[in-house]
């Protein structure tokens, strides 16, 4: 029921933005007149508007009646809230294509229903720090670099003093 819209959500930002839109739509249901349609047209992104229009236009196969909009929107909010979050700390701002690739990779491993929480921290030099379901792994170049420098400290200092 929600898979079409959930598959389009790849990042934490997208999820938050979508939840806000859905809440706005839900609130418009309590207004008189065609407020819901107006909101769909003016306050929601086009692709979201299209998916929701298609969804609410369908009839409930079991109840043989129109889909309850409020229940649908509430269900969508709950499903969005259930998406798992995988935090990636990167040394650069990734392109959309890169985000797509990383999302696909992780979704393939953990299944659907995951969003990426990406932040940029140039100090890590390269690679990534990954936090997922309580697990923390530092695969950054900074860590490798620090490790290497710690092991080679004496050698570096000796070389420096010889060259001084």
């Amino acid at each position: 029921m929600y898979s079409e819209i959930l598959l389009k959500v790849k990042t934490e930002e997208e999820r938050e933005a979508l939840i806000e839109e859905i809440r706005g739509l839900k609130a418009s249901l309590y207004e008189h007149g065609s407020f819901f349609e107006d909101t769909l047209r003016t306050r929601v992104r086009d692709w979201v508007s299209q998916v929701i229009k298609d969804a609410v236009a369908q009839r409930d196969a079991v109840a043989q009646k129109e889909i309850d909009k409020e229940k649908y929107l509430q269900g969508l909010i709950e499903e969005l809230s259930k998406l798992k979050s995988a935090k990636l700390v990167l040394a650069f701002e990734p392109t959309e294509a890169a985000v797509q690739r990383y999302h696909e990779f992780i979704s393939k491993e953990v299944g659907e229903g995951v969003v990426l929480n990406i932040s940029c921290l140039p100090g890590i030099l390269g690679g990534a720090i990954i936090i997922f379901e309580g697990k923390y792994r530092d695969f950054s170049l900074r860590r490798v670099f620090e490790e290497e420098f710690r092991q080679s400290r004496e050698l570096i200092l000796k070389t420096l003093s010889l060259n001084a």
């Binding site: 995988a86 990636l88 990167l90 040394a91 650069f92 990734p94 392109t95 890169a98 690739r101 990383y102 990779f105 992780i106 491993e109 953990v110 140039p122 030099l125 390269g126 690679g127 990534a128 990954i130 997922f132 697990k135 792994r137 695969f139 170049l141 900074r142 670099f145 620090e146 420098f149 400290r153 570096i156 200092l157 420096l160």
Partner: protein, 223 residues
């Protein structure tokens, strides 16, 4: 100003104070000895003056006695003169004259003896006093030298100890600073290396690195 320098200055100051106290003590001792010697000299002069007065009194007394004896003898001669002839009187006058001259010479000799004796006594006393004074001065000089030497030794010892302490602290400080310097150099090298690496990696390489990272995470069952 560094704490070590202040510490050294304080110790040097304490040493100077010690030396000053020693010098003042020695000075007070000298003044005391000088006053004592001066008093002794005054007493000595008083004794000499008394001795001189006594000798002069004795001389005067003897002189009076001699003159009295002469006068009595002269009166006796004059009494006898009336019964003597002119020649006898003339001889008598010469005799009186001779006797007066003898008495005068004797009196002169006596006075000279007294004078010599007084001079000799005075010289003897001065010489003894001088020797005593020189001896005292020598003792004082030796004591003063010993005091100065002791103060110098103590000051040297204090300064040496302070120097050793400061030297140890300086060594420790140097070691600490070298360590800090090493650390600083190391950090600089590290930061420069990081910046160089950071600049050398382009977006494409970054993306590849992240893909490798995800593979690594998969192998470590992060997902």
């Amino acid at each position: 100003m560094e704490p070590n320098t202040i510490y050294l200055l304080i110790l040097i100051g304490i040493s100077i104070v010690f030396i000053a106290i020693g010098a003042v003590t020695a000075y007070l001792r000298v003044v005391s000895m000088y006053l004592s010697l001066k008093e002794e000299q005054i007493n000595l002069k008083r004794d000499i003056a008394r001795e001189k007065d006594k000798a002069l009194e004795e001389a005067g007394r003897q002189t009076v006695q001699i003159v009295e004896e002469a006068r009595l003898k002269a009166q006796e001669i004059i009494k006898q003169a009336q019964i003597f002839s002119t020649d006898q009187k003339s001889g008598l006058s010469e005799e009186i004259k001779r006797l007066s001259e003898v008495q005068g010479r004797q009196y002169q000799a006596f006075l000279q003896d007294i004078q010599k004796q007084v001079i000799m006594t005075t010289q003897s006393v001065s010489s003894e006093s001088k020797e005593e004074m020189l001896k005292e001065i020598k003792v004082f000089r030796d004591t003063l030298q010993a005091e100065v030497a002791r103060s110098q030794s103590e000051a040297r010892s204090l300064i040496l100890n302070a120097y050793k302490t400061i030297e140890t602290e300086v060594e420790r400080y140097k070691e600490m600073r070298f360590k800090e310097l090493d650390k600083g150099i190391f950090e600089i090298v590290k930061e420069i290396s990081k910046k160089v690496i950071g600049k050398e990696i382009n977006v494409e390489e970054h993306e590849k690195l992240v893909t490798k990272t995800l593979e690594e995470a998969k192998q470590q069952n992060v997902f």
